[in-house]
């Protein structure tokens, strides 16, 4: 059992951002969230993380409504990596990653050796070993993204929610990050822009448009040229890789007149 959204409707500022979304993450699998800008991907992730309460419908974790879970228990299960993380404080990398240990610490608890080890381990996972003392403000966008991922990993979550985690990363870093996510073997829901990355690293896909799921299922089944043209308005060819995963080729703008 894991994270599940049932008929989630979410309204904000008078607009209906999510209009009856139902999806279920598969335990241990990577679920990709696709959709154009404004389709509601970030909002859906926030609802799944328990940050926003659905106007109607419910988010369930292990079959129980998220609302019924104690907050810290949720924080020990579900970690969210947001698109942007900004602070004015002069924090070190260790400070930031150590935030992920907060759900595990007692109310007066200080930092234990176990916490420090978890921080080091998380940094190693994202390829930033030994970066504990570096200052947050000296980091590039990509490095910050990886530190935040380390923070999320330091929470030792079983469910990982990632909102466009490859935005600031270069080609290699993006591939490495998604390799890492897939290799962790935990349930992951990843919002992605890049169709090729989605095709390569996601076991299943859910495609959003205007707050609704227009397609969901195993990647190979969902990712078709027709869907891409329909949802994104671009043309492409979908091939098959050696390992059976789909491959997106030849992305180009749709021309009005069919050749």
């Amino acid at each position: 059992m894991t994270l599940e959204a049932r008929d989630v409707v979410w309204e904000a500022g008078g607009t209906r951002v999510l209009d009856g979304v139902t999806l279920r993450a598969q335990p241990g699998r990577v679920l990709g969230l696709l959709g154009p800008n404004g389709s509601g991907k970030s909002s859906l992730l926030r609802c799944l993380a328990g940050l926003r309460r659905p106007t109607r419908g419910a988010v369930l974790l292990d079959g129980r409504e998220l609302r019924a879970w104690p907050r810290r228990a949720v924080a020990r299960r579900v970690a969210l990596l947001a698109q942007e993380a900004a602070t004015e404080l002069d924090l070190s990398v260790a400070d930031v990653v150590a935030l992920g240990r907060l759900p595990h610490r007692g109310p007066l608890g200080g930092e234990s050796p176990a916490d420090r080890a978890a921080v080091a381990h998380a940094l190693a996972l994202v390829g930033l070993d030994g970066w504990e003392r570096r200052r947050w403000h000296t980091l590039s966008g990509g490095e910050r993204q990886r530190v935040q991922l380390a923070r999320a990993l330091a929470q030792e979550p079983r469910e990982l929610l990632l909102d466009e985690p490859t935005n600031h990363l270069d080609v290699r870093q993006a591939l490495e990050l998604l390799e890492l996510v897939r290799g962790l073997g935990r349930t992951a829901v990843v919002a992605l822009h890049d169709l090729q990355l989605a095709a390569r690293y996601c076991d299943a896909l859910a495609v959003l448009r205007a707050g609704r799921i227009v397609a969901a299922g195993p990647t190979a089944a969902v990712l078709t040229a027709g869907l891409v043209a329909d949802v994104y308005g671009v043309a492409c060819e979908i091939g098959v890789e050696a390992d059976g995963r789909p491959e997106v080729r030849g992305l180009r703008p749709l021309t009005r007149a069919a050749p």
Partner: protein
């Protein structure tokens, strides 16, 4: 490092109690304190007046300065973290403005009289102002960062205008000067009672804030980030607003609206100790206490027989000290 600060604080306290316009020899000072604390018999050759000066005037003032400095610094640190605004000070929620209105009503308009009137009036004013600010912020108080700041600004301005109105309406030149004195803050009215009250309020308040050190760390990247780390964001925010407002109101009622301490000490401490709240809160308390104790001692003795309001000294002395720290500290973002 906190331990070193506490030692410095104890030493400073001893020194502060020993200095003043009435030249009481240091040996006598120690003897008086020991005697009144029940540790030793009365020292010879010390008049009751000298004893009263040390035990009933200097010592309560010094202790009040310590309590107020610690309290304002901690409240400033907490509010800066909650609002993620480095310009926030403990008077964000209208507390000092409201207290000023209450105080001038007593000082100038003759509302109420007697020893408790000024403190009572100030505290009542704080309470009203804070209630108004919370009402203005509405349900957004717990949710968003900026609504409470805007509500605080509005409340502060309203009560500042009311204060000015009362002063202009009823004051003459001398009264206006007296009001200015209160507005700048002073420990001259310290008594053992006010020290005890402040100590109790501060103790309770500090305990609550310290208990939320973890939650305050979580706010580093905003309310949403804190929520994903398991913090009950809205509840924690409101709870801490109430606690800091109550502590600040009690301190302001005893000593007027001393500025600078709550705004700058947390930043100075962050430069030295980092941003983790377990250390930050404790270090802010010690740093604020040390700072205000010295500022008060200077205000009380440097221009004797004149007794300057300590709020003048905090900024005049504090700004150069802070500038030094900024230059030597870690590079700003």
């Amino acid at each position: 490092m906190i331990a070193a600060g506490l030692v410095a604080l104890a030493a400073s306290l001893a020194l502060a109690v020993g200095i003043g316009p009435a030249g009481v020899p240091i040996g006598d000072v120690a003897g008086i304190v020991a005697h009144r604390a029940g540790l030793a018999p009365a020292p010879a050759g010390v008049s009751p007046l000298q004893e009263a000066i040390v035990w009933d005037l200097r010592l309560p003032r010094a202790l009040l300065a310590i309590l107020v400095g610690a309290g304002l610094a901690v409240c400033g640190a907490v509010l800066q973290s909650l609002t993620r605004n480095p310009l926030t000070d403990p008077y964000l929620l209208g507390v000092s403005s409201g207290a000023s209105t209450g105080a001038v009503l007593v000082l100038v308009a003759g509302v109420g009289s007697g020893a408790l009137a000024l403190s009572g009036g100030a505290f009542a004013g704080s309470a009203v102002a804070f209630a108004l600010v919370l009402a203005l912020a509405g349900r957004g108080a717990g949710r968003g960062d900026q609504r409470i700041v805007l509500a605080g600004i509005a409340g502060t301005q309203l009560f500042a205008a009311l204060t000015a109105f009362v002063v202009i309406w009823s004051g003459d030149a001398q009264a206006t000067r007296g009001v200015l004195y209160w507005l700048l803050g002073s420990t001259a009215a310290a008594t053992w009672t006010s020290v005890a009250v402040c100590a109790a309020v501060l103790g309770a308040g500090l305990a609550v804030c310290a208990g939320h050190a973890r939650a305050l760390d979580a706010f580093a990247f905003g309310g949403d980030a804190a929520a994903t780390l398991g913090v009950a964001v809205a509840r924690v925010r409101v709870r801490l607003y109430v606690v800091t407002a109550a502590v600040t109101a009690a301190l302001v009622a005893a000593s007027g609206a001393i500025g600078f301490v709550g705004l700058v000490i947390p930043h100075a401490v962050r430069l030295v100790c980092g941003a983790r709240h377990r250390a930050l809160l404790a270090a802010s308390a010690v740093g604020g206490a040390l700072f205000l104790l010295w500022a008060d001692t200077i205000a009380r003795t440097a221009f004797a027989p004149r007794d300057l309001p300590v709020g003048i000294v905090t900024a005049l002395v504090g700004v150069p000290a802070f500038a030094l720290l900024l230059r030597r500290g870690r590079a700003a973002p």
